[in-house]
Amino acid sequence: MTQKPKLALYWAASCGGCEIAVVRLYAKILDVADFFDIVLWPCIMDFKYKDVEALPDKSIDLCLFNGAIRNSEQEYMAHMLRDKSKALVAFGTCAYTGGIPGLANVANRETIFQRVYDETPSTVNAEGTRPQLSYQVPEGELTLPEFYDSVRTLAQVVPVEYFVPGCPPVKEQVEGVIQAVVEGKLPAPGSVVGASDKTVCDDCTRIKEDKRIRSVYRPYEIVPDASRCLLEQGIICAGPATRGGCGAPCTSVNMPCRGCYGPPPNVVDQGAKLLSAVASIIDIQDPAEFERVTQAIPDLLGTCYLFGLPASLLYRVRHQREAWHAGETVEPAKAL
């Protein structure tokens, strides 16, 4: 038992899909259980923080950490697991680039609370009650973790050895990573593992001919030719600006890649590259016409950074926080 390498899994701000992705190894999951001494897996067993704290530093051989850092509890766990682990792995897109929870960087604590606890039409909250970090109930005190203004990636909080992209990481790649660990074949620290060095286009079997386009469509606006490149048919696809290895499951069902595997190697900012590529191939010289055509991309931020806002160069939306700092009250939105 004690001879086995120690494995820990933890999730922070995420949906749990990464955990399911590991559970979905089916029979193989039992091998994992055989090979490792699983010391921490909250969705499987007791995870009283004290027990992890009690472990000596670097006593966990491998820690698969999924989820972004959204609140104080998650940040605390990130630091603790960093200390306890030899190899800390940002497992899945949320931990790697912020993922969907990272989209919250378009807003901030106040605007989120306002929406969730005041504005939502089903909410009845005349007193303007808000969750409190510490609250006295008749029987005693109840506490809650602090909800931060911004979402951060794991690497923005603590140093990370490996990154496994994917929302979630595909089964084959998870198996591959586990295999690499079992065989002690992990690459140099700092690497992305469980993914390809090429882009999704390399995985995608659609026919690619001429990238020039003169119009842009949203996925629901046309029925694309099932065999041809979606981008060449005017549907914005993040495949060219996204690390491959997923096997392009999305384009295989005629839906564009949205970039969940993050930037390719050598790309600093995935969204900037996608934007540059798209602007380049829209073969229209007349500015007015270009303006008109690009109306079909109404949400550039969401198009370019759906899965990686916190990891982007700009990291978050600016005015939100400044409004929040200036204490401006965002005018209460009307009910649906």
């Binding site: 960087n105 378009v106 931060y148 203004d149 911004s150 951060r152 923005q156 909080v157 790309v267 600093v268 900012d269 969204g271 900037a272 590259k273 934007l275 540059s276 798209v278 602007a279 380049s280 829209i282 229209i284 010289q285 500015p287 270009f290 303006e291 690009t294 991309i297 949400d299 550039l300 931020l301 370019c304 982007s312 160069l313 700009l314 990291y315 978050r316 939306v317 600016r318 005015h319 939100q320 926080r321 400044e322």
Partner: protein, 153 residues
């Protein structure tokens, strides 16, 4: 943050401006402004590229993330690009990027693309002066990345 600012900071806010100039038109125009001794504000720092089409939006976001207050890109007039239509590609990228900067709460006015030919020394000086003025009025840029640092603290 930037030592040249500190020294420049006599009367209020002195913006830091990054310029990209294409080798054949705008960079030559900037040189002409020099040989004609036309004076303009010292806030701009020019990076020479062969063509405005070389300017990757990544560079611009990097600059803003690092706290540059404004980015000016100079290229050849449409039809005069040394590389046929690199300037058109630049224009398309910049236009889309400006729209996205808005989504990020960064005023699109902080990013400007101008056509300046090799013979337009005076125009180069005007453009720089005007852009510097605009950015001064807008005040310093506070980016999400800087906010991140604060959050981390």
């Amino acid at each position: 943050m930037r030592q040249e600012d500190l020294t420049m900071n006599k009367n209020g806010f002195e913006p830091l401006i990054l310029g990209f100039a294409c080798n054949w038109c705008t960079y030559a125009g900037a040189d002409l402004a020099g040989t004609s001794r036309i004076q303009y504000p010292p806030n701009i720092r020019v990076i020479r590229v062969m063509c405005s089409g070389r300017v990757d939006p990544t560079f611009i976001l990097k600059a803003f993330a690092r706290g540059v207050d404004g980015v000016l890109i100079g290229g050849c007039h449409p039809g005069d690009c040394h590389y046929i239509e690199g300037n058109h590609k630049a224009r398309r990228r910049i236009e889309l990027l400006r729209n996205m900067l808005g989504d990020f709460g960064i005023e699109p006015e902080r990013l400007r693309l101008e056509w300046v030919s090799a013979s337009e020394g005076a125009r180069f000086a005007e453009v720089v002066a005007d852009f510097t003025k605009t950015i001064k009025e807008m005040g310093p840029l506070k980016t999400g990345a800087q906010i991140a640092v604060e959050v981390a603290k």
